[in-house]
């Protein structure tokens, strides 16, 4: 085994292969930083070139791209607050809050180091666990996977926040978004309104970009031409190293969570990131800083998402079952090179297995080092007015969203969900529970249904299920014991209680108007969902009901509360509302006359009126932005949208 490992290392240190690995890594870094474009986009852009190389170089190139994406996305998440990829949404919440306080270097340092450890843990697991990973994956049958989803939900419950009604309603709304599309249990298509676009449900990328990214871009544009914020400086890494060291065991635990997330096919980095974030929250005594810049939140989520993306390769290589979309493309490339992953792979191609391990490990280290090097340079960009950065940012998000199906529906959905995200941000609804609800609703329903179909209720006594259930039961028992003890020592009660209540909520002062509008929209959605639910097969009703039964009364209560507290405070957000309106008009214009004309007008509008650039700088910069966007459309091989009224793209 060691001999194979060394042969593989020697094979990798061939100059062409190393060059391929680093080219892949650079592409992966860039795509990781572009919000909405991640591993899948990077790998599909590289795929055509891979076939010009020999098998080892080609695969090294893809691995370089796959393994660095979740390291470099930290930069965008921290500096701009728009998640670089869906799995770094927790980093966007905590890291951006820290960056606003001038502690960007701390956030980035911890993020990079945690990413590196997560990646190395993933590589180590691949290395040592290949002989035993097979049996582990085989032990995780549907009942165990269902229990994992429950554990995720339990950990995520700590994200609900201070305003219980809003937090729970947001989670229910997320679950409701998650059930759109094909039902797992029976042949129902839920809430598709007869649109083919919705037959597959919502894409995770678009939901993450819509809920988090669009709202951030809007507030950047609203900030206008002046520098209304402190430029972020990234200079002193010392504090970050110290924080990382303090949180080292948390990072390791988060990586283990991430590794298991990768073993489970099709659960993916997003779910395990949220689970790790929830774990960080539960294991941190003072929860008051979550949502306002908690470094441990970053450490956990970055450790987890990097570990997941690499351990995703375990089911891919051992069983030909890809763990995520990027792994699926990697699998396709393996096939094309004539490798057929499966039980025989370890004995037939041991060198290849180790080549993969080394590529991943090397990229994790070099990628993190490179991120340390470029982050200070990128941070300097924040000293230019945000409106100037927001212009390409919003267009790249459109390109990213458009990767899902390359139809107009992607752009519509981005701004529809963007509106929802904006209302949530301003109405004081936490967005994290909504995204978690969305991510977990699919696997929960699927595994519950399969489990009950195959095993009846006998699965409840399986040893694996009991072990996983202990992850929920043990913390609950410990908390109960603590609570009883605290009650005896009556003095501490008030204090503790206060702390628990304090949990996370990224709420500043919620806009009363936005809160009422959002509660109204949610109420209408839940009412409609209830009505349509009765046309489904009984088996397909369970998951929507899980969202509706608590969601409907909560939304009703929030409407009542909203009316009682109503104050016409739309004026404070009038600038942002205008921008939102412009985006909606833009979407309709793209539908009508194709992408080019509305985009040119939008760029001009953003640069001239929002960023207040001079006309000639607008001309140069705007032309560069437009050209980049067109090139991206072409590179990613999605034809740009053509107008419905004017056949022009």
């Amino acid at each position: 085994m060691l001999e194979n490992a060394l042969t593989a290392l020697d094979a990798l240190f061939d100059p062409i292969r190393l060059a391929a690995l680093f080219v892949g890594m650079i592409v992966g870094m860039v795509f990781g930083m572009l919000p909405g474009l991640g591993g899948v986009a990077a790998v599909s852009i590289l795929l055509p070139f891979v076939f010009y190389l020999d098998d080892y170089s080609g695969l090294a190139m893809l691995l370089g791209a796959i393994s660095v994406v979740y390291t470099s996305d930290t930069i965008t998440s921290v500096l701009l607050g728009a998640p670089g990829s869906p799995a770094s949404a927790p980093t966007a919440i905590e890291g951006h809050a820290l960056a606003k306080k001038g502690e960007a270097a701390r956030a980035l340092g911890v993020g990079f180091l945690a990413s590196m450890v997560g990646g190395l843990m993933g590589a180590a697991i691949l290395f040592f666990a290949i002989p035993i990973a097979g049996p582990i994956v085989l032990m995780l049958s549907t009942p165990e996977l269902f229990m994992f989803a429950l554990v995720g939900l339990f950990f995520a419950s700590s994200m609900v926040g201070k305003d219980l009604a809003k937090g729970l309603a947001a989670a229910c709304l997320g679950v409701l978004l998650g059930v759109v599309g094909p039902a797992q249990a029976a042949a129902d298509f839920r809430y598709t309104f007869g649109q083919v676009y919705l037959l597959d449900g919502f894409s995770l990328t678009i939901v993450a970009l819509g809920l988090f990214g669009v709202a951030e871009a809007i507030s950047m544009l609203a900030a206008g031409g002046g520098i209304s914020h402190k430029p972020m400086t990234v200079s002193n890494w010392g504090a970050g190293f110290q924080d990382f060291w303090n949180a080292k065991w948390l990072v390791v635990r988060a990586s283990v969570i991430g590794v298991f997330g990768g073993f489970v096919p099709a659960v993916g980095a997003s779910a395990s990131t949220w689970v790790a974030y929830g774990h960080a929250m539960r294991s941190t005594k003072d929860k008051s800083k979550f949502g306002k810049g908690e470094i441990r939140g970053i450490a956990a989520s970055e450790g987890a998402n990097n570990a997941t993306v690499i351990s995703d390769l375990v089911p891919t290589l051992l069983f030909s079952v890809p763990g995520g979309p990027a792994a699926a493309i990697f699998l396709g490339a393996l096939f094309s090179f004539g490798y057929y992953p499966g039980p025989r792979m370890i004995t037939q191609n041991p060198d290849l297995m180790f080549l993969i391990v080394w590529s991943v490990a090397l990229t994790s280290i070099v990628g993190a080092a490179l991120c340390f090097a470029v982050a200070p340079l990128l941070a300097r960009l924040t000293s230019i007015p945000f409106a100037i950065i927001a212009t390409p940012l919003i267009l790249i998000m459109i390109v990213g969203a458009y990767q899902s199906t390359s139809t107009m529906g992607d752009i519509f959905m981005l701004f529809m969900l963007g509106t929802l995200g904006w209302l949530m941000k301003h109405g004081g609804w936490p967005r994290a529970p909504a995204l978690v609800g969305f991510v977990l609703s699919g696997p929960m329903e699927q595994y519950f249904w399969l489990t009950n179909q195959i095993h009846g209720w006998s699965w409840l006594t399986r040893p694996g299920v009991l072990i996983i259930a202990s992850f929920i039961v043990i913390p609950m028992v410990i908390n109960l014991v603590k609570w009883v003890r605290d009650r005896k020592a009556t003095t501490a009660v008030a204090e503790r209680h206060h702390n628990d209540e304090e949990a996370i909520s990224p709420v500043d002062e919620a806009g009363r108007g936005a809160a009422l509008v959002l509660a109204g929209i949610a109420l209408v959605m839940f009412l409609y969902a209830t009505w349509e639910m009765f046309s489904f097969n009984p088996a397909s009703r369970l998951m929507p009901a899980l969202a509706i039964v608590p969601g409907l009364p909560l939304a009703l209560w929030l409407v009542v509360r909203g009316i009682r507290e109503y104050r016409n405070d739309f004026r404070q957000d009038i600038g942002e509302l205008w921008i939102l309106g412009v985006f909606i008009v833009y979407t309709i214009a793209v539908w009508a006359v194709g992408i080019s004309i509305p985009t040119i007008i939008l760029i001009a509008w953003m640069l001239l009126t929002r960023a207040r650039m001079r006309w000639w700088t607008t001309l140069i910069y705007g032309a560069a932005v437009f050209a980049t966007v067109r090139i991206l459309f072409d590179l990613l091989r999605g034809d740009a949208p053509v107008g419905a009224l004017l056949a022009f793209s």
Binding site: V196, G332, A539
Partner: protein, 356 residues
């Protein structure tokens, strides 16, 4: 080095075969092959596998551009083709029964007129049924004497699972079907975990993933969907000639040839899923010369020793089909009789709860 010599040898053979008149039909052109599934999926990988051979053997050596347009269980990509395909043969829709079944069943959202399209080429995509030895079953004939209830795992009744489910109807098996998996990979995993005991896998996966289990005694192969012989899906599949076809299994069990509505429905659906599993469709107005050029290219590819060697590894030596017979068979399967349609819709809505 060996590859290179083979390639040269192949190029020389083709040079003599291709008709001179059509020599430059596609010179300098790009053919866009639309795959309505994700990159890395089985259909995309198959298209990628065929790409160099078409580039080499089509007159004028066009460049082939593979484009993946996933969404709506392949309906979005096929609808895109309906609206955007060119009629000169430079746009091809390369797809599977996942696109054909919604069309045949008249599902909502289908805008493409698949039965009107021209068929440029087709590649078999046969499947093998296998069972767990825990059931006590040792061959296809004693499947009815299984010791334990049969549990089959699948994705969705109206999609690629349809022929498998119909084969159970034809053979009158009592099978519990658990639908709702993410893909055939997770189904196979659940089989290995012992949660399911009856499964169908497509050939490339069967050869690389299931055959090792068969050798270790952890899976028992049963039958294949069969191959076309004089318009009947009865012959043994050349990919796994040691296994009987569903037709043969029925004969062994009942002593007569299968007939009736179940058989007709199975034969129609199974032929587009297995025998013509991966098919390249073209715009309805594509000129006959273009189709003839593709038929000639397919003949050249089948004769190309490099293709033969590579396909031996992946599909046990499956060959491409093209020409009028192939097109007629596919079109017939895409336009079933009203009785078959009604039977399918009834079966799917009563037994599997599909809403139409």
């Amino acid at each position: 080095m060996q590859r290179l010599t083979l390639a040269i040898a192949a190029a020389m053979t083709v040079g003599t075969l291709a008709p001179a008149a059509a020599q430059d039909m596609f010179a300098g052109k790009t053919i866009e092959v639309v795959v309505p599934f994700g990159e890395g999926g089985a259909t995309f990988v198959s298209a990628k596998f065929l790409e160099p051979y078409f580039e080499k053997h089509l007159p004028g050596n066009p460049e082939i551009d593979l484009v993946s347009r996933p969404g709506g269980g392949s309906i979005l990509g096929a609808n895109w083709f309906e609206q955007n395909a060119k009629s000169d043969g430079t746009t091809i829709l390369f797809t599977t029964s996942s696109t054909a079944n919604p069309f045949v069943l008249g599902q909502e959202g289908v805008e493409y007129r698949l039965a009107d399209y021209r068929v440029a080429y087709s590649h078999p995509f046969s499947a093998v049924a296998y069972v767990s030895p825990d059931t006590g079953v040792t061959s296809a004939a004693d499947i009815k004497g299984a010791d334990t209830p049969l549990i089959y795992g699948g994705i969705a009744a109206a999609a690629s699972d349809l022929p498998g489910l119909l084969s159970f109807e034809v053979l009158d098996l009592d099978v519990r079907s658990v639908l709702g998996f993410n893909g055939r990979g997770p189904v196979r995993l659940a089989f290995e975990q012992g949660e399911l005991n009856l499964d169908y896998q497509f050939t490339p996966v069967y050869l690389t993933q299931v055959v090792p289990s068969v050798e270790e005694g952890r899976a028992v192969p049963l039958w294949t969907g069969g191959a076309m012989e004089n318009g009947v899906l009865k012959a043994r599949d050349p990919i796994a000639p040691e296994l009987p076809s569903v037709y043969e299994v029925y004969e062994q069990m009942n002593g007569t040839a299968p007939s009736g509505i179940e058989w007709e429905a199975f034969q129609g659906v199974a032929s587009v899923t297995y025998a013509y599993g991966l098919t390249g469709y073209m715009h309805p107005d594509t000129p006959q010369e273009v189709l003839d050029a593709f038929a000639a290219a397919v003949a050249a590819i089948n004769a190309d020793p490099e293709f033969q060697a590579e396909s031996q590894k992946v599909t046990n030596g499956a060959r491409l089909n093209a020409g009028p017979d192939t097109e007629a068979a596919i079109k017939a399967a895409l336009s079933p009789s009203d009785e078959v349609k009604t039977y399918l819709r009834d079966l799917l809505s009563t037994k599997y709860g599909v809403n139409f």
